[in-house]
Symmetry: C2
Amino acid sequence: MYLCDIGNSNVHFFKEGRIWAISVSEFQHFSPQEPLYFINVNASVKPWLAGKKHCVDLEPYFEFDTIYQGMGIDRVAACYTVKDGIVIDAGSAITVDIMSGGLHLGGYILPGLSATQEAYAAISPRLNVRINPNIALDALPQKTADAVSYGAIKPIIMMLSDTCKDKNIYLTGGDGKFLSRFFKHSVFDKALIFRGMQKALSQSGLVKEG
Amino acid sequence: MYLCDIGNSNVHFFKEGRIWAISVSEFQHFSPQEPLYFINVNASVKPWLAGKKHCVDLEPYFEFDTIYQGMGIDRVAACYTVKDGIVIDAGSAITVDIMSGGLHLGGYILPGLSATQEAYAAISPRLNVRINPNIALDALPQKTADAVSYGAIKPIIMMLSDTCKDKNIYLTGGDGKFLSRFFKHSVFDKALIFRGMQKALSQSGLVKEG
């Protein structure tokens, strides 16, 4: 049995505690030989998945309390095991969601770090610099490479600090570990989305436990 | 006589208090019949400008006190008439510079609003939404379009508030007027860069005043 989180560019697999990723185009050549429970935010993969043997969409089995309209199922899954705290999925976008007493209070979306780096590069060749994750955030930059790194990272940290205050923070995604170092009450959990999927799966009655 | 600010995509002209813009490619078909004093951050235009009649580079005439390395001449010009305060040029990038007692203390660069909108669109078709400048920044978003607008605008406002505190703020550039509405001690000056160029020109001795 696989759990499978289908994104816009990559597909993440979870099996027996192990996580790995393949590209969406590789995924479309994949024929599972055992049950594959998935969530999917990628519209282009939907027709292909519809007729696929062994593939089961977990989305209908999530019972999630929110008034947010059109929340991606990956965000729902990341929040699904968190009763109180801030859930941050720092991937190609950085989604930030606030959970309180098992209720989802809303959230927002920032461009991810690599998307931000590409945004600078598209503005001018002079701004096509590699973002330095170790840039000092308490000193004014004195050259362009630092001015870009500071401008890319500091707004994210300021926003998250403002949202999180003293609440617990649950981070996942490619840049989650990096961002976790800025926050005391934070936990980085690579498998956060899969934990949510496991919870939905066990509530669904699709598999017998034990 | 023209003043001329050559950027990466557009060229802004100033003459007798009037400001207008043409594209860089249009500019390369332009033959000035009178003196044109320019600043230029666009490397691709340099060879073309070098042999051009009537065209005079003002960059060597700026005397600017900073330890910042490689500061774009447009940023220097924007800061050149400001003794104390924060100088923000909100164009394709948002440059933020701090002046104190005529000294430049450093600065940083954020992606501009339209670059940010394009960054979201490149991440996922679901994030390809028009940024709403009137988004409420004090309420958690409850749908994706709001989550993007909030995530695009609020970090900029938080960064600028943190930098500016109670200092005077001088804004210019395409989104300068929009950003000025968030700050009490702010002035939007469309001609800020040209004022700097005028100051450099009058210090240069290139033209006789009177």
